[in-house]
Amino acid sequence: MSMRRAAVVGAGMTKFVRRALETPKELSWHAAKLALESCGLTLADVDAVCIGSAPDAFDGVHMKGEYLADGSGAWGKPVMRSFVGGGTGVFLGPQGWYHVASGLFDVVLIVAEEKMSSYYPHAQAAFLTIFDHTTERPLEPNLLWIFALEMNRYMQTYGISKRDIAQVAVKNKRNAADHPAAMLGEANITVEDVLSSEVLAWPVQRLDVSPVSDGAVAIVMASEDAAKRITDKPVWVQGVGWNLDTAYWTNRDLAYPEYVERAARMAYEMAGVREPRKEIHIVEPYDPFDYKECHHLEGLLLADRGRAPELVADGVTLRTGTMPSCPSGGLLGVGNPITAAGLMKIAELFWQLRGEAGARQVPGTPERGLAQAWGGLMQVGTVTILGTERPA
């Protein structure tokens, strides 16, 4: 059976800020309205809505998808909220794709929102409850533990130093200086700054971590016929993949994200990508922590295991390198309103592949990009591949 094609035709976003005045609904509305305006559509053109948002405990509303529906443009419309933890923002690619590719809808509005500042006193406390309620929570874990444990295992397994990894934070924060949505911060930090920043949970230090933020991002996805009506520059969904590993995260090899590889292989297969290192021109891997970008580049098969830091050191992943990674500035640079940050990666590919990324534009004429996010207890891989060429 030939597949019904889908394309991204519009995108919009709010600024990412530490603490927003706007309510979650209002943030969603701003992003959704900008996305519609960017392709000359109105809400009346929208057939269905997909919402992505991370734990309800952040915004502080149970059944958050229901609460966000009006701000997301879902009044009177079919709407579903998907949820795969931190992987949700990029999972909106697959979710929007299957809405369109099913043949049920022609124009789908896709909205990701997070307001982490509502949680008091600090959003990180909401993460206590991601751990198993009976066998882990009594140990009073915090979110940093699981990253620190994974980062340490990764470094130990491959003999990687903190210095190797810190370059990711430097690169992404510098890239973000060109992003109009980026949180105000120091754009020009050095590796020494990262290494001398406050130790939170060794080996994780303050500047290894992306800042919690509020914000929203939206894109518009359309069927082939609708996309051609809407724009002469559709950016096609060429491949999607997702994968969820076991909940027993301590029973797993933390040095390598196999779930990311499985999600990537699913997306590559659909996109007909056989040599990802040649065929992926821009990559937006998930970078809530600097080592995660390396980890994910390896899971995506864009670097050999344990060798991603070398790509960073060699300048391969710079915006001007041969495989630009996080040209947006990523979560480390722009900010990390969880699902909104994930969908920002898809929006970035959309702008880059249309040559509309302004000061962030990667040189040449990139034809294909990949966005990836991760989530849960080191277990979710989500991948969306966009390209300028219409899929076969």
Binding site: W75, K77, F83, V84, Q95, S102, A126, L244, D245, Q379
Partner: protein, 390 residues
């Protein structure tokens, strides 16, 4: 059009007021094992994608999605959560099959409602934090206001609502999976303790624990796997305004729109003629009536009198909630809609035991996500493979 997706396996465990011998994982594992045995599949080899429905605050875990794959056979497989009702999950699975890239997709929903110690506070936490929550009201107030408005606009009486309770609790006596089967009279319902006028204690469904798993397949796999595939002719889902301020209070607009979408997909112009029986949301007794009207199975204000006359009873012309519904079966939180679809599947397969309806080929399942939402979903299921019902 010819239907391209069918239910080829169902499994469930429960439904019971409490389930202290099993963890949520063990409940889900049992339901999944039954569903895979029913479909004759190995989840580790044969399933292309898994969908679950859950809400973090019903589980007591943030990012509950994490804890789902193992007990469904979904570890290292495509799997995701929809924070919706089970029928939303079913619709997500249908869409995946319709893309042509997924042959077999599994949907799961469950309830461990007995493990939630503060459900009213948690439900209230779904209300607008600025405009509504400061009133510090039990969320049943929202349902009561809807009921007040619905009775006012349609002329439906409390006795009509009580007849729903009597019917569904009695129907549940014929369903071994139902938690709350009983002979309850209309007078007993009307005389029960007032909770939030016009709702009495007996008009409000109690929760139950349980898990439901369904295996969906494309047409080719369905014919290969199942001697009695149940075809999904249409799915629909929709929201009205989420705000208390600007929603419709008398009509279930979400159900009207969801039904319109599902009927359009199924090619149904006259639902009252095409649909032989219905499993609809009855979280509160009046909701069954309001939802029957929204589904176009009777005119506005007619569902109450029809129910009082027995037309929606098991031997009536439009049997409704033969399973016992949520009032008789127990409300399964996010799995509530899957419980409705489960009964439709069993009836269409002729496997409903003592409550089996005669001569039915097409049924509808409908769900609502409960207060304070305006979110609903509909599925039209049939034992006939052709989309247009004869």
């Amino acid at each position: 059009m010819t239907s391209r997706v069918a239910v080829v396996g169902v499994g469930w465990t429960g439904f019971r007021p409490v389930s202290p011998e099993a963890s949520y994982k063990e409940l889900m594992y049992e339901a999944a094992t039954r569903a895979y045995a029913d479909a004759g599949i190995n989840p580790r080899a044969d399933v292309d994608s898994f969908v679950t429905v859950a809400e973090d605050f019903h589980e007591g875990t943030s990012i509950f999605d994490e804890y789902v794959p193992d007990q469904l056979g979904a570890a290292q497989r495509p799997m995701h959560t929809i924070t919706g009702d089970g029928l939303h999950g079913l619709a997500a699975a249908v869409m995946q099959v319709l893309t042509g890239r997924f042959r077999i997709v599994v949907v799961e929903g469950h309830s461990k409602a007995s493990n939630i110690l503060t459900l009213p506070e948690i439900t209230a936490y779904a209300m607008d934090p600025v405009l509504n929550r400061p009133l510090n009201a039990h969320p049943i107030a929202v349902a009561a206001l809807e009921a007040d408005r619905y009775l006012h606009e349609t002329g439906t009486t409390r006795a009509h609502c009580a007849a729903v309770v009597a019917k569904n609790r009695r129907n549940a006596l014929g369903n071994p999976a139902a938690a709350y089967g009983a002979e309850v009279g209309v007078e007993q319902v009307l005389g029960a303790e007032a909770v939030a006028s016009p709702l009495s204690r007996l008009e409000i469904s109690d929760h139950a624990d349980g898990a439901i798993v369904m295996v969906l397949a494309d047409a080719e796999a369905a014919r290969r796997l199942s001697p009695h595939p149940v075809w999904i002719h249409g799915v629909g889902w929709a929201n009205d305004s989420p705000t208390l301020e600007s929603r419709s209070w008398g009509r279930a607009v979400y159900a009207e729109r969801a039904a319109a979408m599902a009927y359009r997909m199924a090619g149904i112009d006259d639902p009252a003629a095409a649909i032989h029986f219905a499993e609809v949301d009855d979280t509160y007794a009046f909701k069954e009536l309001q939802h029957l009207e929204a589904l176009g199975l009777c005119g506005r204000g007619q569902a109450g009198p029809m129910t009082a006359d027995g037309a929606t009873g098991p031997r009536g012309r439009l049997p409704v909630n033969v399973s016992g519904g949520s009032l008789g079966g127990g409300h399964l939180l996010d799995a509530a809609g899957l419980a409705r679809a489960l009964e439709v599947v069993l009836q269409l397969r002729g496997q409903a035991g003592p409550r089996q309806l005669r001569g039915v080929t097409t049924g509808v399942a409908q769900s609502w996500r409960g207060v304070p939402t305006t979110s609903g979903a509909v599925a039209v299921l049939s034992s006939a493979p052709n989309g247009r019902v004869p």
